[in-house]
């Protein structure tokens, strides 16, 4: 099996690794990330496409669609084929048309608190965007009394956002991250990170919760805590640490929430009204000094258990169900981005979780680990391609396609 050519390729790879090793480390510090890796930075992305094998037997092609994005956070697909990308740290909304990044950011994004920990966050289209052109986004906002998480919306005119206004703003004091998604019920679900202390268990603050709002930012009267003393009525579910991802599963109407734990506590939950997901009382994570957060891993009265876990953590980020016709072997697969920087070979990845018909995990696959990059977001386009964002100062938008080349079969 050992051929001269393959040996040469192998040496090339080893040199390539060394190159990455020598460059200065420049990983961004994430809100709740583990200690950064020492002495390692990712090598540059190539100009041309990359080809990789996968565990289901097909080859994929990975294309760099855009680069130079400032810590991009979220992707939204417009019906005309264009894509919107939020740049977290720069607080800008960017547009990709016909596969080309428009150098001019869209107008209409308000001033955000933009740094490694906050900025312009998630973007979502209204379910009836075709008729109302409404785009929603979450961001970190400076109030006179302190910092807040805000959800705003505006009307997309094909180039810029018009008539932008905040539809929901947290009380001052929140600096956390957020994801947003429309549920099958047409309500807007908003996650507010809440890593610290016992706040995720406190009903009178929104930190560490998932909120449920109308499309106008009002409280739906059927929210589970409406009228319940000591609870904010916008709360839908509680006991979350950092809910970095939200994905609607269209067939079941379930909303799947991805949650970044501490050292060994990443998890996926299926959201239910009024449910308590346990943080910090129930978790499989350790605190960063070593001891487990709690002896209670799961199965605690009154607490809802995750459906998928990571031990150790991969520093989960975005989440998306695959749908479309481009990857038949990936139907019913769940994709999750990973930003872990402490592992060399596993530095950042796209993880594919193969689900059975009952939506239970049967196996997993690590993709894109060779890129050595933090994967911040994964999204499936209406035409069935998979897009990811790398979390870097010179961040990239990548597209995963079926391979288009002949491969030797032996």
């Amino acid at each position: 099996m050992t051929t001269r050519n393959s040996v040469k390729r192998f040496h090339g790879m080893a040199l390539w690794f060394a190159l990455g090793f020598c460059a200065a480390a420049q990983a961004a510090v994430d809100f709740v990330a583990p200690p950064p890796a020492k002495g390692f930075a990712a090598p540059p992305l190539p100009e041309g496409p990359l080809y990789y094998p996968t565990g289901e037997g097909h080859e994929i092609k990975v294309v760099v669609v855009a680069r130079g994005l400032s810590f991009p956070y979220s992707i939204a697909f417009l019906p005309d084929g264009a894509m919107l990308v939020s740049e977290k740290n720069a607080g800008r909304l960017r547009v990709v048309r016909n596969g080309v990044l428009d150098p001019r950011p869209a107008n209409g994004i308000p001033k955000v608190i933009a740094n490694n920990f906050s900025g312009l966050l998630d973007i979502e289209l209204h379910p009836e965007f075709d008729s109302n052109q409404l785009i929603y986004f979450s961001y970190n906002k400076a109030l006179d009394e302190g910092t807040a998480v805000a959800v705003a919306r505006g009307r997309w005119d094909g180039r810029d956002l018009q008539d932008v206004k905040d539809i929901y703003v947290t009380a001052p004091g929140t600096t956390a991250g957020s994801r947003i998604a429309f549920g099958a019920d047409g309500r807007l679900y908003v996650t507010i990170f809440g890593a610290f202390g016992n706040v995720p268990q406190q009903g009178d603050v929104v930190d560490g919760k998932v909120l449920r709002l109308t499309a106008d930012g009002q409280i739906p009267p059927d929210n589970p805590f409406v009228g319940k003393a000591g609870f904010k009525p916008e709360i839908y579910s509680m006991g979350h640490r950092s809910a970095t991802g939200l994905a609607l599963h269209e067939r079941t109407g379930q909303l799947w929430e991805l949650e970044m734990g501490p050292n060994g506590g990443d998890e996926v939950n299926i959201l239910k009204p009024g449910a308590n997901y346990g943080w910090p009382l129930v978790s499989t994570g350790r605190n960063y000094a070593g001891p487990y957060q709690t002896k209670a891993f799961n199965n605690v009265e009154g607490m809802e258990d995750p459906v998928i876990y990571w031990m150790p953590s991969i520093s989960v980020s975005g989440i998306a169900f695959y749908r479309g016709d481009k990857f038949p072997a990936w139907q019913n697969s769940l994709f999750v981005g990973g930003m872990r920087t402490g592992e060399i070979a596993g530095t950042g990845r796209l993880e594919r979780i193969h689900l059975n018909a009952d939506m239970q995990e049967i196996r997993r696959e690590t993709l894109l680990a060779d890129l050595r990059r933090r994967i911040r977001e994964v999204a499936v386009s209406p035409d069935g391609y998979i897009y990811v964002l790398t979390d870097e100062a010179d961040g990239a938008l990548l597209r995963i396609e079926p391979s288009d080349r002949q491969t030797e079969k032996r």
Copy 2:
């Protein structure tokens, strides 16, 4: 940052992956491994050394010491600097002297049941090998009444094993794997895999147990179940699934046991006399069809909890604590081999678990994943190098050393 050279290297790597993709899959089916990957086989190992960055900031060099080993399973270091390697499937004991594999296998190994699921297994030196030259090994043995796991010992004459005899043989009906290790108490600990049904909870069979024997294979009178009705007196601990690894931690005298779970149930336990480690009643694993094995992940009365978990599984194999002066940043690190073949980028690995002074995990690092190989065994030599075995028909013995080359610092 994008240079022409680095792009060329990157393309070389992509081609290299495609090469592996095209070759026919030839992964060995392990005793309790998850379903094999489709359409992927590892590319050949190079002739020359490989260099990799690590998460603690130093570079490592990986050297192929020997190849052509038939599914090698275990390594033992002789005081004269030679190494013994067991070939599971071939049922042979091989010798590496001065870094060269002797083409002649050592004599003295009895006939073993040699196939993908069984054969010649673990090798250990008696703690007083210097004075008695005794070598112990475990293997799968054919009895008239069925198959058994046996532990044998023989005297090493520098070339062959002399006076080999079985010192312990299970009852017929056991086809399982086994690891052996001497404890700090001078007793010989023997693991017997027990993946199926409730047998790990049954005291009258040795499957799914760790046994404790004298160096002559007898029952120590202070064994925890001696005189207890319904229990085999050789049992030291119970409730194990497939105990693929055993490692003595010299400072504390603790014996750490590595256990391969089902889908998401790999774990490390610290062995205590008479303790029950829960399988199949307590586990974080799923069965391969998807549902969790049990709702009880941990913290169950009367059951001992693991200290380290994997979700998803990496199909754990061998285990070793680092000691020595070659890798100062890896003092107090635990190394674990992984044989998972369902993940492409994570196909096989050497995982390093960074422990704090209280022996609690604080972070992990994935090493050697680029080799795309099942790592069956990891062992630390008396002079502080790390050796691993790849689980293949053309298996390799690899040595990890500190890097010996100048690297550009930027």
